[in-house]
């Protein structure tokens, strides 16, 4: 049996080599992909790798329908004689030390032209340090911790939006609502008190002040609380025009139930991903949380659109829909492929220069970013997110208006 499958494998490999014959004219461009392929986050890592593989396939094959995306669907990288992209994956198991070891292996043994990674912020933090020392570009599609881009690295490029982007988007949305005639003067921020909630909550408060809103209250709390009525009563007393929650799952559900029980329905609620995006949230409290807002940079869009076609291809391969995290990774692969094509070379220095010169417009992207342009820290300054609203059984895209698939419902319907 074992011999047999080995034989099959050899035959398949041979067939693949024969099929790939013409492409050998130009050497393949190797790109290292560092993701958690085993351990607690293996699902997320596997899905990200699937999305990145699909991105490479779309770059390598001919797809005229994706002409709006640069370097995609041209049957390889045109400035490198039609060279194909070859994905070399590595598993970091969610372990920062393993992330370093694998990055070193990808660069020194596999000779990859660039590395993409790596889901966990703490792994991205250590792995990118190796790439920096080796002088190879490290492109971040998914990790959002602020400290990743605060080290003055020259070889690090982060495509994904981070907390300050989300927070700014929330405030832009509220400003738009105010312009549309709704009363929005005060906001309250309710955040759980570990790393995630504290940093995002703080950023939201900062951005709210910057956009001229009054912060009626910031309420940090412990996500393991068995009861949140004290917090809800505080909100009821302050009566803000919008409440922004930075919460995990049990607490997000508990807040919705407690608000209903204490008959407190703020004009609007924005939940920052996490608990409000958990698969258990909608089944548990979907019918009393109608109109709750959330964020996502990925939106499937209208049937026939580029994003809908990408989602179909992904679904055909994996059996499930593209999610926000995997889609952000896929976008990062497209950005990197385009930079390599513009560099016209696999020389890391030239790719670095091309990444620095990246200036993509919103219509050249599959994500809801306002573009891709890196500042001196390597952060994409045009990264942004869509806002989505729970209407019926699903979140639908409602903001910004030009990409929205549904109208914003204001005020919050809740359980009425």
């Amino acid at each position: 049996m074992r011999k047999n499958s080995l034989g099959c494998f050899a035959a398949a490999a041979l067939a693949a080599m024969l099929a790939a014959g013409p492409a050998l004219a130009a050497d393949a461009v190797k790109i290292g992909v560092l993701q958690p392929l085993s351990g607690n986050s293996a699902n997320a890592g596997k899905s990200a790798l699937d999305a990145i593989n699909l991105a490479a396939e779309l770059v390598n094959t001919v797809h005229p329908e994706f002409a709006s995306l640069p370097s995609v669907g041209k049957g390889g990288l045109s400035n490198l004689g039609g060279a194909k992209i070859e994905v070399v994956s590595a598993d970091h198991q969610g372990n920062p030390a393993e992330g370093q070891a694998q990055t070193l292996r990808l660069i020194t043994q596999e000779h990859v032209a660039a590395v993409l990674g790596s889901y966990h912020s703490n792994v991205t933090f250590t792995a990118s340090a190796v790439a920096e020392r080796q002088g190879v570009p490290f492109v971040v599609g998914d990790s959002v911790a602020a400290n990743i881009t605060s080290r003055g690295y020259k070889w690090l490029f982060r495509v994904t939006p981070i907390a300050s982007d989300f927070a700014a988007n929330y405030m832009e949305f509220l400003s738009d609502m105010k312009k549309a005639g709704h009363k929005v003067d005060t906001v309250a921020v309710v955040n759980e008190n570990t790393d995630y909630g504290t940093s995002v909550g703080g950023t939201v408060v900062e951005q709210a002040k910057k956009h001229g809103f009054t912060v009626a209250a910031q309420i940090p709390y412990n996500a393991n609380s068995t009861d949140v009525s004290a917090q809800v009563l505080q909100l009821k007393e302050k009566n803000p025009d919008c409440v922004i929650f930075v919460s995990y799952t049990a607490d997000a559900i508990l807040y919705m139930k407690t608000m209903k029980n204490l008959d407190y329905r703020p004009p609007m609620i924005i939940g920052d991903d996490a608990g409000f995006a958990d698969p258990s949230f909608i089944p548990a409290v979907g019918d009393i949380a109608q109109g709750v807002m959330n964020r996502s940079s990925w939106d499937v869009g209208k049937p026939g659109s580029v994003t809908a076609k990408i989602n179909e291809l992904f679904k055909a391969k994996t059996g499930h829909e593209l999610d926000d995290t995997s889609a952000r990774d896929m976008q990062a692969m497209f950005v990197l492929a385009d930079a390599i094509n513009r560099a016209g070379s696999t020389d890391p220095g030239k790719i670095q220069a091309a990444l620095k010169a990246t200036d993509l417009k919103p219509e050249q992207l599959m994500m809801g970013y306002k573009g891709v342009k890196f500042d001196e820290t390597g952060q994409n300054v045009l990264a942004a997110t869509y806002l989505i609203q729970l209407q019926g059984k699903d979140y639908v895209s409602v903001w910004p208006a030009k990409s929205a698939t549904a109208q914003v419902q204001w005020p919050l319907k809740g359980w009425k």
Partner: protein, 285 residues
């Protein structure tokens, strides 16, 4: 008005605390044995309720007794298969055995039910009553009534019946009780069954109000230990009073001092009380 709502909220929370703590204190009172798996019993009560609701769509009148019966049997089984054997061993073995049992139950639940958060569908018990602007959560109110009934029932059982006397006799002196013709194993198995059953009812009622996953027991277990030691180990009425005190302090501090500091106030008070009365409010030294 808002102060009244906070006080009512505190009393209702206290009722829930009292409910899931009463079983823990019973085991201590009967056996001088700390059950670290008590939070997991509560968690299993929640999942029994979920399974019953999914299977037969019954209301609280169906799933609460079902959870009580299922957990009673589990309690007896745990006593027969584990506790009976480790009580002959050193103190450390007793402590670690229920700790291990807690992990076994928790991770078995992860295996069977996955780590997703679950909630019970809306039922007659969901929501709250509006009493002139003061909102009273129905599940919490029922928890309070059941906690009071259980406390009273256990108190009566222990002080007014022959069965209670036999239970207490075994707790007092196992060998002397045997000489009087009492079978200590049966009595203690009964105590474990009653303790687990009360945890099961508590879990089933809380499942209506609280989203749960297999790790929910940790949260409840810590509170239960605080309630039991404040009330006095082994005192069922003590657990009731301590539950109300902690619930009230929790809510008042959460509202006036801030949710992240409320634990400072709660545990500060806890330490202060134990400093003055190390045996707890109603405990005996």
């Amino acid at each position: 008005m808002i102060l009244l709502q906070v006080v009512v909220g505190g009393l209702l929370l206290g009722a829930v605390y009292a409910l899931f703590s009463s079983g823990l204190t019973l085991i201590w009172g009967m056996m001088n044995f700390i059950n670290f798996a008590h939070g997991e019993f509560v968690m299993l009560g929640m999942y029994v309720a979920l399974v019953v609701v999914t299977a037969v769509h019954g209301g609280p009148a169906v799933f609460a007794p079902a959870a009580a019966v299922a957990l009673f049997l589990l309690g007896v089984l745990v006593y027969g298969a584990l506790i009976k054997h480790v009580t002959r061993g050193p103190m450390l073995a007793q402590i670690l055995s229920t700790f291990g049992l807690a992990l076994l139950l928790r991770y078995s639940a992860f295996f069977v039910f996955s780590s997703d958060f679950r909630t019970l569908p809306e039922s007659a018990l969901s929501g709250s009553l509006n009493l002139g602007g003061i909102f009273v959560g129905k599940p919490q109110l029922l928890a309070g009534v059941v906690a009071a009934a259980l406390t009273l029932g256990m108190h009566m059982l222990l002080t007014r019946t022959a069965l209670g006397s036999r239970l207490l006799a075994v707790a007092e002196d196992r060998n002397a009780a045997m000489l009087m013709g009492i079978r200590p194993d049966r009595m203690q198995a009964l105590a474990w069954g009653l303790s687990a059953a009360s945890a099961g009812i508590a879990g089933a009622l809380m499942a209506v109000a609280y989203p749960f996953s297999p790790s929910v027991g940790e949260t409840f277990a810590l509170t239960a230990f605080v309630v039991v030691s404040l009330g006095g180990f082994g005192s069922v009425p003590g657990a009731m009073i301590a539950g109300f005190i902690i619930g009230l302090v929790d809510q008042l501090a959460g509202f006036y001092v801030g949710p992240i500091y409320k634990d400072v106030v709660v545990y500060g008070l806890f330490v202060a009380v134990l400093w003055v009365r190390p045996q707890g409010l109603l405990g005996r030294l």
